[in-house]
Amino acid sequence: MNITRNSVSIGKRTYERTVWILVGLGCLGLWSGIYLDAQLAGTITYLVAVWVAMGIAFGLPRVTETKLSDERDEAHHNRASGLMFSIAAIATISVVPALYVLDAGGYFTITSTMWGGIYVLSALALLYGLCYGIVLWRN
């Protein structure tokens, strides 16, 4: 069988590991910056590492003939996204309304951290709704 030569030769596993290691190094740099009181250096380390990782993640598939992701990766991504959203939705719907009522009745106080979590979950749900609408519209 005739095997074509890649313009950039890299395997799928190496590609994925490189991206995740860079993201991990970025997170490590950020946390180190926080704990060593060098926030600016930590932030720069994080941004550089993550930008390079994103550049590799989105750019490399365009310059190599090696198949770096396919329908199975997409299926995994879709399943994981659906599972994550289901867990977030169930947790939110089953807990947040009760917290609102208890807070209004003076039985419980929603702290600023909890409000932050509620806002994040609400934004996630709105973003999901928007994305779902776009997907429906395009199909």
């Binding site: 069988m1 095997i3 799928k12 198949k67 992701s69 199975r72 299926a75």
Partner: protein, 67 residues
């Protein structure tokens, strides 16, 4: 899903990587299909059938009767 991908590939003396390249997927996907851990899309099933010059239901058995 039961399938004959390993047998057909071995008949042609192909590696998983070579088959993957021929049908434009990753080697890991071919490996998952052969281990019956991933059911391919309709498009990929037809590509594999065309590559092996057989029908889709010669290559894949959905086991609809639960047998």
């Amino acid at each position: 899903m039961d399938n004959q991908v390993t047998e057909r590939r071995n008949e042609r003396d192909l590696s998983q990587g070579e088959l993957a390249e021929a049908v434009d997927v990753t080697r890991q996907t071919i490996n998952s299909i052969e281990r019956e851990r991933y059911d391919p899309s309709l498009e990929l099933a037809f590509k594999l059938a065309a590559y092996f010059d057989c029908r889709v239901d010669d290559l894949f058995d959905p086991d609809l009767d639960g047998e």
